[in-house]
């Protein structure tokens, strides 16, 4: 069972999450038919680092993005929606409990 680093709550077991597919797929509604088809249906299946979306479904409920190595299943980074994909993966939050009340709660 994966240990997934929620950027709002810290590391939590996979049971609490739902995968939501590839991250950084722009919703390019102005694209031509081929471009829109690629937006909807064309996906890589990389061996190595993948940027994907997760939702902390049974936790804070937030969607976020994470970099995962599909070979080792190791998480290299997790980051909030709207933040750019990290170039160099920052360290993953280590086993810390979420610091609720320290101004780090998810914003509405």
């Amino acid at each position: 069972m994966l240990l997934i680093p929620c950027p709002y709550c810290g590391p939590r077991p996979e049971l609490e999450f739902r995968n939501a597919g590839h991250a950084h797929i722009a919703r390019a509604t102005a694209a031509d038919d081929q471009g829109w088809a690629e937006t909807l249906f064309y996906r890589d299946n990389p061996k190595g680092v993948i940027a994907e979306r997760w939702r902390h479904f049974s936790g804070c409920g937030r969607f976020f993005n994470a970099l995962r190595d599909t070979v080792s299943d190791g998480f290299l980074a997790s980051y909030r929606v709207g933040e750019p994909r990290p170039a160099a993966p920052p360290p993953i939050p280590e086993g810390e409990a979420p610091r609720i009340g320290a101004g780090e709660e998810p914003r509405p």
Binding site: L40, V81, G82
Partner: protein, 998 residues
């Protein structure tokens, strides 16, 4: 007396606490601390079962979890019957009732043993060859007709219990800094180092007593104390330091991110488990660091008839002697290619077992162990081999010879009742391998050892290739210290003789006709050296293929004692080295795990929780039949006086259309959408336009996914400028909320909107029919129900029976209708009041079947029934709802995709048939009555009912270009012939919709 082979003293048993138990109907006596294996051996019982395929007599090979032969069924009662338990791990309790397996009529005389004589039929690949075998009459293979029924009866292991498991199983999630798997010297030392450094530490061991090899070396001392006493004090200190110490706990699975699964046996060793006590506990442990201290498994030697009862691993004999005070024989021949068995021979010799011969296949063995054996007067044959044994139900002699190349000379029968063998030790790297660590082949010692770890993990002791108590303690200490940042403790060891010389892989030379002997490699699956060589001759080169073809290593023991020998024999036959041939994959679980443990509490009612509405009890009391809709139980129909479904529905529908009916619609999904941008948010999530929807009005909304297909629908009411009450389909509620949250959080984060599921908060009573207003009028306060004040598709807030209500004027029947939303806690009372009025006016309560029929009469679609994830609004004839002027909504871009505007799409139509037969839902539709086999179907039936209102069968269907086919005839081919159907409008009743506005 606990057996004539019991030593007078020594071992970890309590001779003062006798235990009576039964094996195959015979009553025996054992001691507290015995396993079933040790207790039977104390009585000289070696023959304990028959093998899987050949029904060969079998005895104990090992003393622990790796035992392949000695499987039994333990029965407490009819439901508590567990097969395939390793007798070496079954703890004795008073009244234990165990039975051997796979033998009939008795394990001493077994009819199935004819298989042994027929063994040329059962060579490697037997199953595959038989699968492909000649075809019998009727097209089935000989396999299905003849072989399978016979083989199924003859082969196999124990029988499963026939009743449901009455026990329950616990489950715990745990977190720790250091998890140590294995409670031997390495494991205890690692745990001590971590616990003394103040780390949260857990240590587990499969045995009832921690200590591992410390318990089988009574002459050894650690830190000045006997080894076993040191182990006990280490456990005590660990507990004092707050560590979690788990005996009887198997670490069986190592998963991602240092997640390790353990199973703890809680009551199987007790004569009288407390009522309601959990039988086993699943521990799901997330550790910062894992220390594997899983030890090593001794390898059998491969020689003819090495499976006879009385042929045993040398280290198992050591364990039986020192741990359980049992002499496994009176006269032993020891065959060993490893130094350790010499010490075992010496210990047995001192305990009074005559050592008839030590046979060492190594040409010139040397070293202190050999010297000690010779000094004690034990006869040693160096460069020797064993070419077979005498005796079938129990070994009576070993056929000892001298190796001569691939053959043997100077045969001699050495009488004995025990043959101990040692091919050396294989590190137990199973969990390491499961953790995705890379194994490394050590050519010098011909072993696979843990290489680079893939997770925060280290290996210590014999599983890492270290040998002897001192090395294990040091390795464990170092691993524990490294894992915890603590200090590596030094433990002083004396009295241990950790010689680690030798070892061999593959077969011993025997020079006998290889087609006439059986030298076993995998004892549990009855795979011989000959089978593996045959597989190679037949062209299998990969060890993974050899494994599957011969089934070696595929039994419940996963080849713990056999894999390395099988690999070496395959490598020899291929002329390759071991690493060139590769190693098969180790998979979870390490030992079999009960389904109960894995299921835990998730069984019966808790397996998939049942959701019931507040009105469920009323419906149940009225004799409603229920149907499952997702997790919900919904009232299906309310039979009166023995009515069947058809009669009940006909009555419910007629009464609703003529008077009124009430319906429990509480399962509808409900989401409150609130915020200054709520209308704009709905504009983007539904095809409809919401901006101009007035407060107090409702609209039917259609939701698409991004590819443009209908994913949900429901009525949305506007309670205020910034507040909407959204309803969804019963099954779609969580999916719709997830979908809304996704777009709100990731695509439209600028919108100020909050989403709340209120499905459980609001119960819904649908009141439908010409008298609906008359039913509600006296109950409702503060809402004018007149048509002028409260038109169709409006919503009002007020009270009913003194309870707040959100009252919708909507209809899913085509009749004048209301949906009364009330807080769930009050729903039962409000329902009672509404029902009293309904009944008094001559109305009915109706269920989901009538709801389906009435909506189908009106051509209202049900998402998931008329739609299947490939249906657009236009396909449903709802294209007019799409707010094409809106700049954007989810799915909008896709509605102009080429495939979605192409001609020939399937469209929703109605079908009318002659006669009374109702079409089959899901039936295919063709343009001709007698389509050729494989011809293209132009559509399918989505809904079909007998319409009580019209008195004829009706159906809805999706048909290519269906709307253009109106008035034409299509066909529904069925086994009894094609049924002609006329394409009509999907609205069968009150096409003008006048009844809605009554």
């Amino acid at each position: 007396m606990s057996g004539q082979h019991r030593t007078p003293r020594g071992g970890r048993i309590d001779r003062a606490r006798p235990i009576r138990f039964t094996f195959d109907g015979h009553v025996y006596e054992g001691c507290h601390g015995d396993t079933l294996a040790s207790a039977l051996l104390a009585h000289g019982v070696h023959l304990v079962g028959r093998s899987f395929k050949y029904h060969r007599p079998r005895g104990f090979l090992a003393a622990g979890a790796e035992e392949p032969n000695a499987l039994c069924t333990v029965t407490r009662d009819r439901a508590r019957t567990e097969p395939n338990l390793r007798m070496t791990q079954v703890e004795l309790y008073d009244g234990l009732d165990a039975a051997s397996q796979n033998s009939w009529p008795a394990r001493g005389f077994d009819v199935g043993a004819i298989n042994d004589l027929l063994s040329p039929l059962f060579a490697a690949g037997f199953y595959y060859k038989t699968f492909m075998g000649p075809r019998a009459v009727g097209g089935t293979t000989m396999w299905a007709k003849l072989f399978e029924p016979v083989i199924r009866r003859a082969a196999g292991l124990g029988r499963p219990p026939t009743e449901a498991d009455p026990d329950h199983y616990a489950n715990r999630f745990a977190h720790c800094d250091v998890l140590v798997v294995g409670g031997g010297p390495a494991g205890l030392a690692a745990a001590l180092a971590a616990a003394r450094a103040g780390r949260r530490t857990m240590v587990c061991d499969e045995n009832p007593e921690m200590g591992g090899a410390l318990l089988t070396h009574p002459a050894a001392e650690v830190d000045g104390r006997p080894a076993a006493a040191w182990a006990a004090s280490a456990v005590e200190e660990l507990r004092r330091l707050g560590a979690t110490v788990l005996p009887r706990t198997q670490g069986f699975g190592y998963y991602n991110h240092n997640f390790v699964a353990l199973t703890e046996r809680l009551t199987d060793h007790l004569a009288h488990p407390a009522a309601g006590a959990p039988r086993e506990r699943l521990w799901q442990v997330r550790a910062r660091h894992v220390v594997l201290a899983t030890g090593a498994t001794e390898r059998p030697l491969v020689f003819p008839d090495n499976d006879r009862p009385g042929v045993m691993l040398a280290d198992a004999a050591r364990a039986f002697l020192h741990r359980w005070g049992v002499k496994p024989g009176t006269e032993a021949v020891v065959v060993t290619a490893h130094d350790a068995a010499y010490r075992t021979a010496l210990d047995l010799h001192r305990a009074g077992v005559r050592i008839a011969r030590i046979v060492d296949p190594r040409p010139r063995p040397a070293g202190p162990a050999l010297d000690a054996a010779r000094a004690a007067g034990l006869p040693v044959t160096a460069g020797g081999t064993v070419i077979g044994v005498k005796g079938s139900l129990r070994v009576s002699a070993a056929l000892v010879a001298r190796s001569a190349g691939a053959g043997a000379t100077d045969h001699e029968a050495v009488p004995c009742d025990l043959v101990l063998m040692s091919g050396g030790f294989t590190p137990a790297v199973h969990l390491f391998s499961q953790s995705r660590g890379k194994l490394r082949f050590d050519a010098a010692t011909q072993r696979y050892l843990p290489g680079d770890a893939a997770q925060a993990q280290s290996s210590a002791g014999a599983c890492a290739g270290a040998w002897g108590l001192a090395a294990a303690l040091d390795g464990g200490s170092a691993a524990g210290a490294a894992a915890s940042g603590g200090e590596a403790l030094r433990h002083a060891v004396s009295g241990d003789h950790p010689e680690d010389g030798g070892g061999t892989l593959g077969t011993l030379p025997h020079g006998r006709d290889p087609s006439r002997v059986k030298a076993f490699v995998d004892f549990q699956n009855d795979v011989t050296a000959k089978d593996i060589k045959l597989a190679v001759r037949e062209g299998f080169k990969s060890i993974e293929h050899v494994k599957r073809y011969t089934t070696t290593g595929m039994a419940t023991d996963q080849g713990k004692t056999s894999n390395m020998n099988a690999l070496a024999i395959a490598a020899g036959a291929l002329g390759r080295t071991l690493p060139e041939v590769g190693l098969t994959t180790f998979r979870q679980p390490y030992t079999p795990v009960t389904f109960g443990t894995l299921a835990g509490a998730a069984r019966d009612e808790l397996f998939d929780p049942v959701r019931r509405t507040p009105i469920h009890g009323w419906a149940e009391a009225r004799g409603a039949r229920f149907e499952d809709v997702g997790q919900w139980k919904r009232a299906w129909y309310f039979p009166v006086a023995g009515e069947d479904l058809h009669a009940a529905v006909a009555r419910e529908v007629r009464a609703t259309r003529e008077v009124a009916g009430i319906f429990d619609a509480s399962t509808l999904g409900k989401i409150e959408v609130v915020g200054p941008d709520a209308a704009e948010f709905l504009n983007r999530l539904y095809v409809n336009s919401w901006s101009k929807l007035g407060v107090g009005r409702c609209r039917y909304g259609l939701m698409l996914n991004e590819p443009g297909f209908v994913m949900d629908d429901g009525v949305v009411g506007r309670l205020a400028l910034d507040r909407f009450h959204v309803t969804t389909t019963t099954g779609g509620a969580p999916r719709v909320l997830h979908h809304m949250e996704d777009y709100l959080q990731t695509e439209f984060p600028e919108l100020r909107v909050w989403l709340t599921s209120v499905t459980e908060q609001w119960a819904v009573i649908a009141v439908q029919g010409p008298r609906a207003r008359a039913i509600l009028e006296p109950l409702v306060e503060g809402i004018d129900l007149s048509s002028g004040a409260f038109p169709h598709m409006a919503i009002r807030e007020g009270a009913i029976c003194g309870v707040p209500t959100r009252l919708f004027r909507v209809s899913f029947t085509g009749e004048l209708g209301f949906e009364v939303n009330v807080p769930s806690d009050h729903a039962a009372a409000v329902w009672d009041a509404v029902w009293a009025r309904t009944e008094a006016l001559g109305g009915v309560a109706y269920g989901t079947e009538s709801m389906h029929v009435m909506r189908a009469e009106k051509g209202y679609v049900i998402v998931g029934q008329e739609t299947d994830g490939t249906v657009t609004p236009d396909d449903l004839g709802l294209g007019g709802m799409v707010g094409r002027a809106k700049p954007d909504f989810v799915g909008r871009r896709s509605l102009s995709r080429p495939d979605l505007v192409a001609p020939g799409r399937k469209q929703l139509v109605g079908l009318r048939t002659e006669g009374t037969a109702v079409l089959e839902e899901g039936a295919q539709i063709t343009p001709v009555p007698d389509p050729k086999r494989g011809a293209h179907a132009i559509g399918h039936v989505t809904s079909a009912y007998a319409s009580p209102t019209l008195g004829v069968p009706i159906a809805l269907a999706l048909v290519e270009n269906g709307r253009a086919l109106t008035g034409q005839t299509v066909y529904v081919p069925m086994p009894g012939g094609a049924i002609p159907a006329r394409v009509v409008s999907p609205v069968f009743y009150d096409a003008e919709g006048e009844r809605l506005h009554g």
